[in-house]
């Protein structure tokens, strides 16, 4: 029983990482299985429409077809996936972070989100011009910190 519990505890972060990987695969869009761009309102774009505008000018292509989310959101979902795998594969690092940085990580995630808002505002006001890669990079940082700050939620209680 003891052994079964510890196996389940080890599996839980890996399951969470697999879930975020699946979500990340979905963000790649219909280029995963189509050779021609689909019609407007394709389910792949609709699925993410409530949380991401996915404007063509601000979105990467995958296999020549627009992804399901824009570059910033792609960065966020990538950060979540990599964070989840780092958590699952290097658990001692996750535990050390949690013990020494617990709440600070969550504030850093929130801080990183504020940077996104500043980046969007600065670009809109013409103070600077962000690129697909810069948006993806900023998004990645937010996703990574977000995942690390809530990693406890993906572990079974001991």
């Amino acid at each position: 029983m003891m052994q079964r519990t510890s196996r389940a505890q080890r599996l839980a972060p890996a399951l969470a990482a697999s879930f975020f990987t699946l979500l990340w695969i979905f963000t790649l869009g219909p280029g995963l299985y189509l050779s021609e761009p689909p019609k407007v309102g394709h389910w792949h774009y609709v699925a993410f429409s409530a949380v991401c505008h996915a404007l063509p000018e601000r979105t990467y292509l995958f296999n020549g077809i627009q992804m399901a989310v824009n570059s910033r959101c792609f960065g966020i979902f990538s950060g979540l996936m990599w964070g989840a795998w780092l958590h699952a594969l290097i658990p001692f690092f996750a535990l050390w972070l949690e013990k020494s940085w617990s709440k600070r990580l969550a504030w850093m995630a929130l801080g990183w989100f504020t940077i996104q808002v500043i980046d969007v505002a600065g670009n809109q006001l013409g103070l600077w011009t962000n690129t697909l890669d810069s948006r993806a990079f900023l998004g990645f940082g937010f996703g990574l910190f977000l995942l690390y700050s809530i990693q406890e939620a993906f572990r079974l209680p001991t």
């Binding site: 407007v40 309102g41 949380v51 505008h53 404007l55 000018e57 969550a106 929130l110 808002v117 406890e152």
Partner: protein, 187 residues
Amino acid sequence: MSDQDLTPSTGSSFSVILLYGLIFGILSTVLQIAMGYVQINSEPSGSFFGPTAIGSVVVCFLTAFAGFLAVRAIVKEVNPVMSFGQGSLVGVQIALVITVASVALSQVWYLIDPGYADGIIESTIANMEQMPGVPDEAIDSTFESLQKQFTLAGVVQTAAISAVVLIIVNVLTSLLAVKLFAQKDEF
């Protein structure tokens, strides 16, 4: 920390979720409809980054962080103790309330102004016609897809599909709020 501080108040978590869900659902829908009117009344620019797109940027920030703000309100007003499991449930519930409120309000608006959907479709098509290199077939298929999207079945289908990701994102932001504001509890 005294025992009194940990005692839940008589307020209900669900009433907070309902309130925040309705506020964010109504706010995001009103913003989208308002930006729709701006698009209808403006000249086609030939760019995807029109008024509705700017509205979408604000709407996606609003809807993604509804769970975060709801958890913060519950922790402050109802019960300072919240587990990650309870926080996740708040994220799920608020995403569902936002979805239902948005569908209901948009349907009511299509009844109040039956010309709204046609206006959006016409302005989108006019905008596409200004874009260089867009084939006629693509414009025709966009026209058909948009017409389907504005029917009741289309709106419900869109809401049901997008609710899945909205739930996931709100669960994540709710968990962040639990970490920041709630006192620890067992799962």
